[in-house]
Each structure stands twice: as C-alpha cells, then as structure tokens.
Amino acid sequence: MPSVYVALARLAGFFRPHRHDVEFHLELREHIAMAIDDKMRGGLPPEEARRTVLVELGGVTQLREEARAARGLPWLDGLLLDLKLAIRQLRRNTGFTIAAVVTLALGIGANAAMFSVVRGVLLRPLPNDDEAHLLYLRQSASGLGVENAWFSVPEINDLRGRLTKITRLAEFSTTQPTLFGLGEAREVRSGVVDGGFFEVMGLRASLGRLIGPADDGPGVPGVVVLTHRFWNGALGSDPTVIGKAVRLGGQSATVIGVLEPAAPYPEETEIIANMVTSPHHLSATMVTEREHRMTEVFGRMAPNTDLAAVRAELQTAYGGIQRSYPEIYTPHARFQLNVVPLREQLNSRATTILTVLLVAAGLIFVVACANVINLVLARTARRESELAVRAALLPSTMAVRRTLLVESLLLCSVGATAGVVIAQPMVSLLARFTARYSVRAVDFQLDATPLWIGVALALVAAVLLAFAPSLPKPGRAVQRSTGTSARRLQVFAIAQIAASFMLLSGAAAVVRTLLALEQTSPGFQTANVLAVNLPPGGLGRTAAQTLTFYRNVRARLGELPDVAHVVIGSNVPWRDIGGGPTRLNPRPGGMQFTAEGAAAAPSGEKPQARGRAVSSGFFSALGIRILAGREFNDNDTAGAERVVIVSASVAAALFPGQDAVNRQFRWSDPVARLVNFSEEPRRIIGVVADIDDEQVDPQTNMTVYHPFEQEVAGGRLFVVTRGTKPYALVSQVERIVKGLAPTQPVEQASTLEDIRAQVLSPARVNTIVLGVFASVALLISVIGIGAVLAFSVSGRTREFGVRLAIGSPPKQLLLIVLKQGAVIVAAGIVAGVALGWALTRVAGAYIPGMQSPGAAALTGATALLVTTGLGAALGPAIRAARTNPVRALKYE
C-alpha cells in the first residue's frame, strides 16, 4: 500500500511541483530562523550562528533539488527537458529536419503499406472453416505441356475409393451458360459442383441455403447459389432473388441462396449450380470416360494427420491408378498428382511479386535509414563541441545518449506519422494492384497494420540513429573526430548506393519486360476493333435460326457508314481464357490431330491444337496474314464440305517443307468423340500466320480454325470501324441486335486494344511500383552522396587551402573530390552486385521464377548510378576548386 501512495504522491508532485517546493522552502527558512535563535541564545554572534546552522543543515539548494527529486518523477523531468531541447534543436535546423523526416516517411510509409498488403493477402486466414485442412489437388501432364490437366469422373471415383487421409473430395468445374431470369439475360461463369462441395470448402450461406447432397444426381431440380460479389454488385443485394426461377441455357433452376464472401478458386464465377444444370456433366461419356477431364478437385484432410502423410498416401493411390491404365498414363505424358493447402495455392501467384516488393520496400528502408544516419552523423560532427560540453556536465555518457535518443525518437515519430499517413493511399493502391495476382486482395480491408509497423520501424530507426554517432570521450574534452565520422559517412553512403543499385536493376528488369511486351505485335489489328459478346445459347433457337441471326447481324451492322468489316469468332483474344472446357477446347493443351500423309513426329509425340471457329472474312478483317490457300467465304456453310484452316505451325508439324493446302485433316483425340466431334476428314483450305489469342507474350501455338457456320461457338462479334471512336458504335450495335432478337445478351463491348492494355496492366503497375521505389531510393542516395562529399569538402577546407597555396591547380582539387565520389559509387555498385547475386540465390531457393535481372538491366542501373552519382559530386567538387586559400587558412 505505501508504494501505491508513493507513486500517487510522486505523480501529484510531478504535475504540481510548485506548491510543494514553496512549502519546503518555507519550512527550511523557519528551521534556519529557529536554529539561529537557539544558537544566539547559546551565546554565538549572529554571523557565526548563521554559518553554523547552514553547515549543519547541508546545502539548501541541493536539499531542495533532492526533495524535488524525491517528490516528483525525476527521469520524466529529464526526459521532458531532453524533449524540449530536441524540439528546439530540430526547429533550429529546419533543412536537416525536413530532409530527415521526408526520408524516414518514405522509408516507413513504403514498408508499412507493403507489410499490411502482405498480411492481408498472404497471411490472413481464409474465411473457410478450418482452412488449414483444406486441400487443393492438381493433376498435371508435363510431357503434354499441360500444367493443369483437371480430373475425370472415373479418376475422382478411383481416388475416393483409395484415400483415407483425405476424408472427402469435392468437385468443381466451370461452364459458361447464358443466365435468364435475373434482369437482362447475360452470359455468366457458373461453377458446377457436387453436393459435398460446400461442406468440404467449409463455407456457409449469407442468405438462403447452399447446395447439399440432396441436390446430387440426375432426377433432382436444378438449383443455383449466387456468389456474394455477383449478388452484391450486379443484383444490388436484392434479398427477393431467393426462390426465383431462372434458366441456365436450356436448363431451368431455382435460386436457393447467396454464398458468404469467399476467395473464389479456381475461377471467379457469378453463380454455383448443381450438376443437373449442366446436362453434359451427367452424360454417359462424362461419367465413364477416364480421359474426359473437366473437373477441379478439393479435399479435406482428415484430423490427426499431416500433409506429408496425405501426400504419401496420395502418391501410392495415384501410382496404383496409373498402373491399372498404362495406355492412358503413358510415360511420355508424365502425369503427376500434387496436393497443396488451398491457401498456398491461392497465394502462389501473389507470393513472388509481393516478396519482391517487400524486399524492395526493405531496401528503401535501408536507404532511408542510411541517409538519415548520414545526415545525423554530419550534424553530430558539427555539434561535437556541444556534445563534449554535455558529456562533461552530465553524469554519464548514457545521459548524452539519452539526449540523442530522445532527439532521434522525436524525429522518427514525426517521420513515422507522416509515413503512416502516406501509407494509407499506398495500401489501397497496392491492394488493387495485387488483386490481379490474388483473388484474396479483392476483399482486402485496411487495418491497423501500417500503424504498428510504423511504430516498430520508427523505434528501430531511432535506436540506429542514436547509436550511430560516436560520442566524444568525456575525459578528453573537445576533440575533433571528423576522421571517424567521415569514414562512417562513406560506409553508409556505400550502403545506400548498394541498395539503390539492387532496386534500380530490379526496376530496369521489369521495365525491359514491359517494353518487350508492349512492343510485341500480336499479329492482328487491335485498334478500332470492337469486340462484343453475342453468346448463342439458351434462346431456344434452332441451329438454322441461330445462323440466320448472326448473318442478319453481320448484314445490318455492315450497312453502318463507320463500319468497315463485321466478322464473328469463337474467342475474344486475351479475354476468353479460362472458363472451363468447351466443345472446341474440351481439355487443356488442345486436342490431338492427324492428317493423311503427315510426317510422324520423331518422338512419337502426337501434336495437339486449339480449336477455333471464325466466320468468313475473319482473317482479312483483322489483318491476319493468309500464307497459303484461301480464307473462309460465305459458301463454307453448315451443309457444305467440312473444311478447316490451320495455323503455320500446324502446317509445319504435319507437312514440313510441303504445301498443306488440300490435305485431309482429322481430329484424332479420344476426347473428340466424347464432345461429338466426328473423326471424318476435313479438307485444309488455307494456312494462316500463327497468332496467340491467349497470351500477350505470343508463344508459338497450333490452332485449327473451323468455319463458324460449321461449328457455332462463342458468338463473339468483331466490328472493325473506319472512324477513330469505336465505342460510339456500341449503342447502335445494341439497338440493331435487340431489334433482331430482343432477349439476346449483348455484352462486354471493348476494343481489342483496351483488352490488351488491361492484360498488360499488371506488368505496367509492376513497373510503376518498382520504378517509383527505385526512383525514391536513387533520389535519396544521390542526395546522400552529395551530402557526404559536401561534408568532406567542408572538413578539408584547410587542406585545400594549403594545396592551392603551394600551387595545385584548382582542377586537381575538382578531380580529388570527383574521385572520392566515384570511389563511393563504385564500391556501392560492387557491393550491390554481390548482395543482389546472393539475394537472388537465397530467394530463388524459396520463390520460383526469381531470377537475376540480366546484363542489360545491370548495365542500365550502373550507368544511371554513375551519372547521377558523379552529378551529385560535381557541386561539392566545384566548391572545393573554388576554395579561397587566404580565407581557408584563416578558417578555424
């Protein structure tokens, strides 16, 4: 209890020092008076009495100090005094303070922002129940170049029968039906799932109910669950949608619920429906054919087991399955089965880029701290006499340190505050950027992470700053230690250059990638081509009616004055990727094909090609070169001879060095039969240049084109305009199409140029983010070099004066300083190359795709640093050359 009283009393004393002080003073005064009276009564003369009393009492001033210390909180008093001093110091050196605060704010802000994005996107647990046990299975066939081969129903059933450490497997596949009944008809992505899917995923309904085991099988009614994003966005969170009857293509279904917000994987879909809504899923081929793969598989790990055990069991099971069907799992195809926690799979793409950015932010922090340390060092060197006096007066060096610590804490907390403020907009920017790599960033929310990161980093920086300068030894009074300071300054300048070099070379590498991407020609026209989705299905039209509809659309739009060409295709480049298997592309990697008289591949490998459907005039309208034969014309109709056009690489694979035109082409893939592709021969009537409509970085790829009228798919309209404002046509297109078919969805009008730009935007944002980081680092470290050299020049004024006086030409002094700058830059670059090499080595072991930036980027970064570094050295060098010898010798 007494200790509590003491604490309270001290606290009161701290806040009201004055009153107690006055009382104490009065009390002592009365004591002295009474004592003097007594002594005088004892016969001492007044002066003598006074002297004796004061001696007996001890020093009055010291006593009052001690009483004050006992009453209040002396350390806090000291701290406040230090704080007052620090504020005064920082206000007096405005330039220093602003430079330090801005540098720290940038360093702390960048890190606070990056850390909170990493935390929110990579580290935050999934909303799914018991997400640590949620697994994602993937079958790949690297021999066929297929990273994700999906699973067939027989494969899933085999796995179900053999696994004990995964309690349950869930199925998910994507289809793209047209959805009727919720506002305007629209083409949607639909996840088709089995009844156990949501239980395995550990997800709940926000509204209504989810799909359960009762919704499995062929005889049940179709049911649809809306994803939260679709319900919230397109449907405006309308609660009355539950129970609505809808139609998915030709299948009717009922909306039964809304899924809670969850990270969509493997694909973002608008709706999730049961198997019965996709007739294909219940067809005999789907259920019995082992090679008819179209399903993604998730699983839940049994309790009391671990991933290693699950993997081991899975490999055994898969090995057994493979041995049972050697004709399917050929050694050449190199089929593999892998399992990872779902969270890891979700993060896989974002991990690399976020790690790179996190390292970049870390480097910025290093550069910022090194720079502020340099500023502090230079200032300390100038304050040496002040510090020496303080060291002499204060009880210990620790007290001087404390003064410095308080100063740097103040500096860093101001910097951190500014940093946290600028981190907020940076976080939202970065989150939007990361959304391109990870679906988890979509529902990213700002939290207090930047704040505590800011606080932590400020503390780190403050301690670094306070302990960087060497203190004058109290015993040795005022003494120049400029030599040590100068050496330390150089070390930190080199550290800055090294870090900047790494950032710059990283930035240069992404700039190069972006430039390369932007300069690659896709091989077809993208400007002034408007792509509009007119999905064909679900309108209850006969095949002939559908064809008439598209013919009419083309004819009517062709009459518009601004329209040069109207053609139809099955795929919009770069946009129609993913979306699950389709009839033209029933499996990843394409279908196998053969041709009469074709050369067999030396490895026995069966070539595979993507299937596409395009209308007459498609290639000439988009400017795709026709290398041989002709393109499709209006005579290539449904009933006419079956014909195809192949891309150059298909022709080269089948008929190397020969003419492919008029040869017979055949789809030979076992899957072709399953999707009703007849194996009948089709005559090759033309060869066109290879184009890649899936990746902006074009890869050679084999494509086989069918006439649209013989293989209706996609219904993508391409309007090539004469004017420069393609979007002005959108309303006319809509009106004309709706005039022909009122319920026809008309969607996603966009020019190919804009689609390409959107696909390129991650690369562009990469460049911007890393470029900004690198520029900031460059700016800070260039200022750093300048400051170091300026400091060194001002310290060597006398030396320069002497040199000039004994006849050195000023040019020589200029060279001395420039050389000093060059040495710092060179040392920094060497250190940067070494550290960068080590970093890519270490990081490369953990992050796939981590690579050295390449010679060009390294050279570019070096050139930039050398130029700007020497530029920064020029100022101090000129000042050195202009030293006035007379004044320099008088100086000090």
């Binding site: 007494p2 009283y5 001290r10 104490f24 009365e30 009474m34 009276d37 007594d38 007996e56 009453r71």
Partner: protein, 110 residues
C-alpha cells in the same frame, strides 16, 4: 580520531517515527534537536536529511503534517505519526531489535 558514526541506512525513518510517537507532534527543527540530544556525540545527523526523510514518510502516509505556531511564536510545520505509521514503527522496531540482537551475538567474543 573521529568516533562519531554516520546514521545506518534506513534507520533515520525509524528514529523519526519513534520520536514522533514518544513526543507527539513536532516540527522538523524539533525532531532534529531531539535526535541531536539522544545521539549526543555518537552519531552525525545531517539535519537536511531529516527533511528528506520527512518527505518520504509523508509520501508513505506514515506521518501527517499541519502548519501551526511554535513555542517561540514562529510559523512551523508540525508532523504527527499516523496509525499506519505506528504499525510500521512496531514492525520496524521489532525487526531492528531482532537484527541488532543477531549482530550483537555475532560480534560477541566467544
């Protein structure tokens, strides 16, 4: 040779409390004089430290203070022992007797 000893650490509080218990309310000077009398020439009392001691005891609420008038008609701050102070005094006095007994036995020649 100087034979006056400095006050043992912590014993000043004990002595001040005992003085106040025995003599009732006293001002700082009175306490100092009393300790001087009791200590005679065997002990050095720095009178200033008595005031620091009083500040400490006040903080612990072992004593209370009131302004009043001294015998020779001067304004003075009178200290008196509180209930908590008496309890503390009893505790410390017992412990002192125990310890000094032990020290005495240790120092006694066999």
């Amino acid at each position: 040779m100087e034979t006056r000893s400095p006050i043992l650490q912590g014993t000043l509080d004990l002595m001040v409390l005992k003085t106040l218990e025995q003599l009732g309310p006293l001002h700082g000077y009175g306490i100092a004089r009393r300790l001087e009398q009791v200590g005679q020439d065997a002990m050095v009392v720095n009178q200033g430290t008595i005031y620091l001691c009083l500040v400490r005891l006040m903080q612990k609420k072992f004593i209370s203070a009131k302004w009043g008038t001294s015998d020779n008609n001067r304004k003075a701050r009178f200290y008196s022992i509180t209930r908590a102070g008496r309890a503390q005094l009893k505790l410390e006095a017992e412990s002192w007797v125990r310890i000094s007994g032990v020290i005495g036995r240790v120092l006694q020649p066999e």
